[in-house]
């Protein structure tokens, strides 16, 4: 509909349009928390439209059409899955087909206007606010923190926000954000700058009734990259807490890439009996325990094949999550990915509570 309206007549001739799309098929086998074995085949067609309306006005939308098949649709967990709504105000999520064997829906992934002025950029709508330097944990990102154990790690719901970014220099900026979610409003400001060979940021956030001050950096020691974040939160739900992540990464001449991160989550619990599962399931918190470690490696086996292994360890309950994978370039615009999420730990531990998950993904860009 948007394409028809905006693509009509003389308007289209005055406007630059760019269309792109991709198709993803993600097939997974696992078990629900209720112990039901299942398979699930997710298909997603994503249409991306980017348009330059005027020299300083543009908009972008990413629209999804998804359809699911597999025995997961007949499990006890499926109703919660299909009824889940991300904390956004308008997402156009509506089921198109809802049967025992096929569930199809549409949704809006991104939709925003971008106004560019000499004084900065204003972005209004559904967007991702890319704060933080952590690659596994992002305590300074109150909008879209990484959920590393998610099967679709790159997917972020986005927030409905107005963001103003004022450039201060080529490598420095001030970003002010207001985000209104159904039951939560967030105000944030982030001053990003470059000192020596290091990017660093100072930020302050009012998230509902909580206040957070934070800091992040990305630099280098010799040839290795180092990065980190620290967030100090005054919370109404919890005692005041600190969250700190520090990491480093290095690429060897033979293409071996190594990434390590350590995370202290002051909001978490050292005792697995005190884990706040309900808050985690609702998305209010992203991690249950206090201390974590991560080791990731990737290696180019050939010009077409890349293998990797990500290992995430809960230092408090000794449970772990291991993700080995192999990625294969099928064509110039298509790739395949096969892997597993292998969990280990006691039944009441964070990762031991889950089941192994095996997946095969195909992705095609056009």
């Amino acid at each position: 509909m948007l394409v028809l309206v905006l693509g009509s007549g003389s308007f289209a001739s005055a406007v630059n349009f760019e269309l792109a799309s991709n198709y993803k098929n993600l097939y997974s086998i696992s078990k629900t928390v209720q112990g039901e074995n299942y398979n699930l085949d997710l298909n997603r067609f994503r249409l991306q439209i980017r348009s330059q309306i005027l020299d300083n006005l543009s908009w972008e939308t990413q629209y999804d059409m998804e359809w699911y098949i597999g025995s997961f649709l007949r499990t006890l967990a499926f109703p919660a899955f299909k009824n889940y709504r991300p904390p956004t105000n308008f997402d156009l999520i509506s089921p198109l087909i809802d049967t025992e064997n096929l569930y199809a829906r549409q949704k809006l992934y991104r939709f925003y206007l971008n106004i560019s002025t000499p004084a900065g950029d204003v972005k209004l709508g559904r967007q991702k606010i890319p704060w933080g330097t952590g690659k596994v944990w992002n305590p300074t990102d109150p909008f879209n923190p990484i959920a590393y154990t998610s099967l679709e790690r790159e997917e972020r719901a986005g927030v409905d926000a107005i963001s103003y970014e004022m450039p201060l220099s080529a490598l420095s900026s001030l970003n002010l954000v207001y985000s209104q979610r159904p039951s939560l409003s967030t105000w944030g400001g982030r001053l990003h700058t470059h000192i020596g060979a290091t990017d660093c940021s100072l930020l302050g956030v009012k998230n509902g009734e909580n206040y957070m001050l934070g800091f992040d950096f990305a630099g280098q020691i010799l040839s290795a990259g180092i990065h980190g974040e620290a967030a100090f939160t005054r919370s109404v739900m919890d005692a005041d807490y600190a969250q700190v992540v520090i990491g480093c990464d290095y690429t060897f001449p033979n293409s071996l890439y190594c990434l390590m991160e350590l995370y202290h989550n002051g909001q978490g619990k050292s005792n697995s009996a005190e884990y706040q599962w309900n808050r985690w399931l609702s998305g209010e918190i992203t991690n249950l325990a206090k201390n974590y470690g991560f080791l990731g490696v990737t290696y180019e086996l050939s010009s077409r094949i890349k293998g990797g292994s990500y290992y995430l360890y809960n230092l408090d309950d000794n449970s772990s999550f291991w993700n080995p994978f192999v990625e294969y370039s099928l064509t110039e615009n298509a790739s395949g990915l096969v892997g597993g999420y292998l969990v280990n730990g006691k039944s009441n531990s964070e990762f031991g509570s889950f089941s192994n998950n095996y997946y095969l993904q195909l992705r095609w860009f056009f």
Binding site: N16, E18, R50, T133, E154, L171, T251, S255, S302, N333
Partner: protein, 250 residues
């Protein structure tokens, strides 16, 4: 006595025999292909035994310290951008909608799976400023009379090569070939100018080929589709703001 004088003269670097020093020749060569600024469209074709893929990109250069690259084809990589400022580099990855700072260790890794490294593409290191140069000999190469110049890294220069041999066309110092050796003297990569032509009012290599030794049947070619030299390029191009802003039809 005369023989001694001639002998002593020959003992000095061959540089003293030529109108330009080796440094000046290399500098002139770099200026020929870069200018004070340049802006254009490049096509990089990566050929392996399994597939061939082509990346198309816009590139902007301002001096030796500022480079901006934006890939616009194929669809899978469209929108990926690279910014180099001084000795540092950042990438924008549309898949995660984020800017990533590239650590030094990643500079020598392959750019987008090609035979060119990140350093080759954004020219973090400078063959002019980071090396000492010496004319070794004159040779015939690809049908042209050429100087063969040896480039040895200066102490503490941020480079990984042990040495580079650089062949320049005698008539205009057009680069013809470069051989890259590691610190143990082993030949690692070869860059050759395959086709020379006129672009942006200059005669430059319009088709170059990079091969990694040991990777048989694999190569990367770089074709210049459009190029303008010494044009005015706004400093706003070389910013993180521009890196993370994707415009339709950039």
């Amino acid at each position: 006595m005369k023989r001694i004088a001639i002998f002593l003269l020959l003992l000095f670097s061959l540089d003293s025999v030529f109108a330009l020093t080796a440094y000046e020749m290399v500098k002139k060569s770099e200026n020929l292909v870069r200018g004070n600024t340049n802006q254009g469209i490049l096509e990089m074709t990566i050929t392996t035994p399994y597939f061939t893929r082509t990346l198309k990109m816009h590139i902007w250069n301002k001096g030796l310290k500022k480079t901006f690259v934006r890939i616009f084809s194929p669809a899978k990589e469209a929108g990926i951008g690279s910014l180099k400022m001084g000795d540092e580099m950042w990438n924008y990855l549309p898949a995660i909608e984020k800017i990533i700072k590239i650590p030094p260790s990643m500079m020598m890794s392959a750019w987008m799976g090609s035979d060119f490294s990140n350093d080759d593409v954004v020219k973090e290191s400078s063959i002019v400023e980071d090396y000492n140069h010496r004319i070794l000999t004159e040779e015939r190469l690809s049908g042209y009379d050429a100087y063969k110049i040896e480039c040895i890294p200066k102490e503490n220069a941020p480079v990984v090569w042990g040495k580079i041999y650089f062949w320049l066309r005698k008539s205009d110092h057009l680069p013809l070939k470069q051989e890259y050796y590691d610190e143990k003297g082993k030949l690692i990569k070869v860059l050759e100018s395959i086709e020379v032509g006129s672009m942006g009012g200059r005669v430059i290599p319009i088709l170059s080929e990079m091969r990694t030794i040991g990777k048989e049947n694999s190569k990367t070619t770089l074709r210049v589709r459009e190029m303008s030299f010494d044009v005015s390029i706004a400093d706003s191009v070389f910013t993180l703001r521009h890196l993370q802003t994707l415009r339709a039809k950039e």
